[in-house]
C-alpha cells in the first residue's frame, strides 16, 4: 500500500507549494538541531534533535499544520530510498575484516535476537501490569 502510493506524491494530497512550505519547516528544524549539536557539542545528531524539537513544538502549539503533515508524509514514504545507498556498503566491504567475521556475525545475530526478545517481552509485560492511567504527566 505504501509502496504504490509513492507515485502519486504531490498530485493528490496537497498543492506543491504547500509541500514546499512544509519541507522548509522540516529543514529549518533540522538546522536548529544541527546548531544545538554544534554549539553545545552534544553527541546527538541534528536530525534527532530536530525531531524532538518539532514534537515539542507541536505539543506547545497543539497541532500539526497541513503543510508540514504533507511534506512529512512524502519524506517518510521514501525513507527506504534514502537508506538504500548506505545499505549497498554491505556488499562491498566484506574481506576487510577477515579473521573477525565469526565473532562479528555470531555476536550481532545472537545479540540482536536476544535484545529483540527482551524488548518485546519487557514492554509487553509492563504495558499489561502498569495501569494505563498514567496520563497525569504534564
Amino acid at each position: 500500500m505504501r509502496a504504490t502510493s509513492v507515485i502519486h506524491l504531490g498530485s493528490s494530497w496537497a498543492p506543491p507549494m504547500s509541500i514546499l512550505r512544509g519541507f522548509l519547516i522540516l529543514v529549518l528544524f533540522f538546522l536548529l538541531g544541527e546548531s544545538l549539536r554544534l554549539v553545545f557539542l552534544v553527541p546527538i545528531s541534528g536530525g534527532i534533535l530536530g525531531l524532538m524539537l518539532l514534537t515539542l513544538y507541536f505539543m506547545a502549539t497543539g497541532g500539526v499544520g497541513n503543510a508540514v503533515a504533507s511534506a512529512s508524509q512524502a519524506l517518510i514514504s521514501v525513507l527506504i530510498l534514502l537508506i538504500m545507498p548506505g545499505l549497498t556498503e554491505i556488499f562491498f566491504i566484506s574481506g576487510k575484516f577477515t579473521g573477525q567475521w565469526l565473532a562479528v556475525s555470531v555476536s550481532l545475530l545472537v545479540g540482536t535476537f536476544l535484545s529483540v526478545v527482551t524488548t518485546l517481552v519487557l514492554l509487553n509485560v509492563l504495558a499489561r501490569k502498569l495501569p494505563s492511567g498514567s496520563n497525569n504527566h504534564e
Binding site: 546527538i44 508524509q73 517518510i76 556498503e89 535484545s115
Partner: protein, 243 residues
C-alpha cells in the same frame, strides 16, 4: 597516443564519465527503488524479507554491472541522502499524532528503555568478547542499534572502525525486522505499540521503515524507540568504554 576515441570506446567509458556527476547515482537509486517495489509486490511481499534487502541488492547489482567504484557511487548518492536529515525530523509528525498512545504507555516505556537499550549493547559485546573480538571490533559493534548519524558520532569517541560500524548497523537493522517477525509469532504479541517500539529500539531507521509498513502507530512508537535509544546509547557508551 592522441588518437581520438571511437564512438564505441566513448560508449564503453560513458558510465565512468557520468559517474562524475551525482545524477547517475541519483537515477540509479530511484530506479532500483521502483524495480525493488515491483519485485517485492511480484513475490507477494514476504514478511521474512524486509523490502530494503531487495532494494539494496538490486542497487548493488547495478553498481557492479556498470563497473562503478562503490565509493564514487556513494559520493553521488550522498546528494540524495542529504534528505535523511529533514526525513528524520519528519518523524516528529506521526510521533505527535500518536502522543496519546505514548502518554498512555509512558511508564512501561520509561522502564523498558534503559534496560533494553543497555542489553542491546551488552548481549553483543559479551558474545563478541567471548569469541575473542579485538577492542576495535568491540567498539565498532557497540553502537549497532543506534541510528547512523548518532552512531558515527559515538564511534568517533569510543574508537570504532567506520566501515565495520556501518556494516554492524545495517546487519542489525535488517536482522531486527526478521527477529521481530519471528519473535512476535512465537510469543503471540500483537500490540502494534510494542512491536513498533522493539523495531525502533533495536533496528533504528531500518526497523522504523518496517514499522511504518505495519501502521502509523507502529511507526510512531518505532520513531520514539529509535530517538530514545540514540539519546540513551550516546550517553552510555562513552562512559562504558572509559571504564
Amino acid at each position: 597516443m592522441n588518437s581520438p576515441l571511437t564512438v564505441w570506446e566513448r560508449l564503453l567509458t560513458l558510465s565512468h564519465v557520468l559517474a562524475d556527476t551525482p545524477m547517475l547515482a541519483i537515477a540509479m537509486t530511484i530506479l532500483a527503488f521502483f524495480a525493488a517495489n515491483s519485485v517485492y509486490i511480484a513475490i507477494g511481499r514476504p514478511v521474512w524479507l524486509p523490502p530494503v534487502v531487495p532494494a539494496a541488492t538490486i542497487l548493488a547489482g547495478m553498481i557492479a554491472l556498470l563497473g562503478l567504484d562503490p565509493d564514487s557511487y556513494r559520493e553521488g548518492a550522498s546528494w540524495l541522502m542529504l534528505l535523511l536529515g529533514p526525513a528524520t525530523v519528519a518523524l516528529g509528525v506521526p510521533l505527535y499524532q500518536n502522543i496519546h498512545h505514548i502518554r498512555a504507555m509512558l511508564w512501561p516505556i520509561v522502564l523498558t528503555l534503559p534496560i533494553a537499550a543497555s542489553l542491546a549493547v551488552l548481549y553483543t559485546l559479551v558474545i563478541a568478547w567471548a569469541l575473542g573480538a579485538s577492542p576495535t571490533v568491540m567498539a565498532s559493534l557497540a553502537p549497532k542499534s543506534v541510528t547512523a548519524a548518532i552512531a558515527l558520532g559515538i564511534g568517533g569517541i569510543i574508537g570504532s572502525s567506520v566501515p565495520m560500524l556501518m556494516a554492524a548497523l545495517l546487519i542489525t537493522g535488517v536482522f531486527t525486522t526478521l527477529c521481530v517477525e519471528v519473535a512476535t509469532r512465537l510469543l503471540k504479541i500483537t500490540d502494534e505499540r510494542v512491536i513498533g517500539f522493539a523495531l525502533g529500539l533495536n533496528g533504528h531507521a531500518i526497523g522504523t521503515v518496517r514499522a511504518f509498513e505495519i501502521s502509523s502507530t507502529a511507526g510512531a512508537f518505532s520513531s520514539l524507540g529509535m530517538s530514545l535509544t540514540g539519546l540513551f546509547t550516546a550517553l552510555l557508551l562513552p562512559v562504558l568504554f572509559n571504564l
